[in-house]
């Protein structure tokens, strides 16, 4: 029996999970730092914090769906995970470009996350292709 589940994809999900925990804590710490050092009015702070929390939710959903789909070799959850990845990409781009204050640390964190998303997307597509056929 050939195993259709993609091992690299699963490894990537695992690494992504750990990295995302680090990313979430680091982003939160950076927002706190920015609010102390710079002028960060409340009506600019609220969208940034809300985006971070929603992004965390998306990420959990995405990783769960993707992992489940990959392990059970079903394309539906995997496809859903791909769509959710799109949402996460938008959030990551928001934190990279449209955030109130973008520090170099923000740029580094989000660039790594976007690379991970890109790689995952490619692997998901190949996995879906493998499952379908």
């Amino acid at each position: 029996s050939s195993q259709l589940s993609s091992v690299p994809l699963q490894m990537l999900f695992y690494i992504n999970g750990i990295y995302y925990i680090f990313y979430f804590l680091a982003s939160l710490a950076l927002i706190i730092y920015k609010s102390q050092v710079f002028s960060y009015p409340d009506d600019f702070l609220a969208p940034d914090l809300a985006s971070l929390l929603i992004m965390a939710g998306f990420e959990v959903l995405r990783l769960y769906l993707g992992s489940k789909g990959n392990l059970t070799e079903e394309q539906a959850p995997l496809g859903l995970s791909l769509v959710t990845t799109l949402g996460s990409v938008v959030f990551s781009v928001y934190f990279l470009v449209w955030q109130t204050h973008v520090l170099k640390a923000d740029v580094i964190l989000n660039t790594v996350l976007l690379c991970a998303y890109g790689l995952e997307a490619v692997l998901k597509v190949t996995a879906i292709a493998a499952f379908v056929s």
């Binding site: 730092y33 710079f38 002028s39 960060y40 009015p41 600019f44 470009v97 449209w98 955030q99 109130t100 204050h101 973008v102 520090l103 170099k104 640390a105 923000d106 740029v107 580094i108």
Partner: protein
């Protein structure tokens, strides 16, 4: 950044040691010793920014200025890569008013002070004059509000721009004013110029409360003084009759030369009484203009106004308050200082007159003003016939005046009831050694020692000590027929004896940590 130069202060001229000044030539740069502004950058928190670096190359002969435009990189991980919040890095320029946003801008910024959140309601509340729906609220006069009469305002003419009188100046409530202005008159229009007739000033009645026409106060005539052509004034006995300008013996008499209003008010902001005193004069055919003086003063009902010389410390230029203690001082029940509000009880010194003869200028005295050192004097001529004792008495009267006070207020607002706030005047005598012959006083020196009292940022002047020193000299007997003149002087000197201020520091805070009494419970 290449165009920014902080040290370029002189326009079209080279500033010394300013390497970024565009007005400097090569020759100027060779004279510089150092660059006062070595680098011009933007905000250093940005990750990458342009910087203009200026330096002097002193080894080259002549010295040269080196200018480089480099990219400065902030190596920290927390440098700002970009920001979407424009106000972070630069001040925002305010909105330009246009016809569309003018009203909104006026509402937001049109007051003396404004905060970040605009308050659109408070702009209109103070300026809403006609408000008939507010029937329950009574309007009362506030400080500075124009005193209203039934047709307009109580007028206090004053000069505007030039010295001609303008009648459009309203009297402000509780604003004591005194003004002088010139009015053009002529004999032909004697009866027809309104502004020189008494009727003009007492015609309308004053409203007791703002905007309420029910209660009105008539202006009564308190006193009428007639001034003759040579300046002598006489008080008329009957002040009830209204005197209108009329022609009498080639003169136009009953011309108003001065009006003095006295308004009595209550502490609820109502005017209950108004009185006017007039000075009437006469003009002849040649007169083209007269000078009128106007005054208004406000007194609270049931009070005796005492002009303060400061609150609490004395203000430079205001008269020193002085008074007497009535007989029987040590009894606390009667303790009070008779404070004289008229000029006769004040601390005064001799006033120099144009005729320097002491005996001719009896009674001319000048009040002692706080902070103003004064010296005055006159000359006294004595002959052989002058006797010692009357001369001594005359000179003492001359130097000290009629009612030389005994106590001086230490603060500008000392009340007459607080006896401890008043400083006694110490009298000293200095005389030459010879005691037997006649000693006549020739000079009075009043030395007022004062100190700064209170806080460092707003020190108040407080009088601590007043010493009146009379110096006497021997009167030598003159051979008959000869006469001598000698000067008599009086002076006032104010000395500041305040010790230099020492800042006081608060004590270190102590840590008050005590264990509760049952901390070692099982063992204690």
């Amino acid at each position: 950044v290449a165009r920014l130069c902080v040290c370029d202060l002189l326009v079209a001229e080279c500033d010394a040691n300013c390497c970024c000044d565009p007005d400097c030539t090569e020759a100027d740069f060779s004279l510089f010793t150092t660059c006062s502004v070595p680098i011009v950058t933007g905000d250093s928190r940005l990750c990458s920014q342009k910087a203009a670096v200026y330096s002097l190359d002193v080894d080259a002969n002549p010295a040269e200025r080196i200018f480089e435009l480099i990219d400065q990189v902030n190596p920290s991980v927390f440098c700002i890569h970009s920001t979407n919040y424009k106000q972070l890095l630069s001040f925002s320029s305010p909105e330009m008013p246009t016809p569309e946003n003018f009203d909104q801008l006026l509402k937001q910024f049109g007051r003396a002070a404004f905060s970040a959140e605009p308050e659109p309601d408070s702009w209109n509340s103070n300026t809403d004059v006609q408000n008939p729906s507010d029937a329950n609220e009574t309007y009362r006069y506030e400080h500075g509000a124009p005193v209203q009469t039934e047709d307009a305002f109580l007028r206090l003419p004053r000069p505007v721009v030039s010295s001609w009188c303008s009648d459009a100046n309203p009297a402000g409530f509780l604003v004591n004013q005194a003004t002088k202005c010139t009015r053009s008159v002529s004999m032909e229009k004697c009866g027809s110029i309104q502004a020189v007739s008494m009727l003009f000033y007492i015609n309308s009645s004053i409203l007791a409360k703002l905007y309420e026409f029910v209660f009105q106060v008539n202006i009564t005539v308190q006193a009428v003084v007639v001034q003759s052509q040579d300046g002598m004034r006489t008080l008329l006995n009957d002040s009830d009759a209204l005197r209108l300008p009329m022609i009498l013996d080639d003169l136009c008499i009953n011309i108003v030369l001065g009006v003095s209003y006295h308004i009595t008010y209550t502490d609820a902001g109502e005017i209950i009484e108004a009185a006017a005193s007039f000075v009437l004069g006469a003009i002849n055919k040649e007169a083209l203009s007269i000078q009128q003086s106007f005054e208004i003063s406000f007194t609270q009902v049931n009070t005796q106004p005492v002009p303060l010389s400061g609150n609490p410390g004395y203000i430079v230029g205001l008269p020193i308050r002085a008074g007497f203690l009535p007989q029987g001082y040590p009894f606390p029940a009667e303790m009070s200082l008779q404070h004289n509000t008229n000029k006769h009880g004040q601390l005064t010194i001799l006033q120099s007159t144009s005729s320097q003869d002491c005996l001719a200028a009896q009674g001319a005295r000048a009040p002692v003003l706080f902070g103003y050192n004064m010296i005055s004097g006159c000359t006294l001529r004595i002959t052989a016939a002058t006797k010692c004792q009357p001369l001594t008495q005359t000179l003492l009267d001359l130097l000290k005046g009629q009612n030389f006070p005994e106590y001086v207020a230490s603060f500008g607002n000392s009340q007459a009831q607080d006896v401890l706030d008043w400083v006694p005047i110490i009298h000293l005598h200095t005389s030459e050694q010879v005691k037997s012959s006649c000693q006549i006083p020739v000079s009075l020196e009043i030395e007022v020692k004062w100190t700064k009292y209170g806080s460092l940022v707003n020190p108040q002047a407080r009088i601590l000590n007043v010493t009146a020193t009379i110096a006497t000299t021997t009167l030598q007997q003159l051979p008959s027929g000869r006469e001598r003149t000698f000067p008599v002087t009086s002076s006032v000197v104010f000395t500041d004896i305040s010790s230099p201020a020492e800042p006081g520091y608060k004590a270190w805070p102590t840590i008050n940590a005590k264990l509760p009494f049952d901390f070692f419970f099982p063992f204690v």
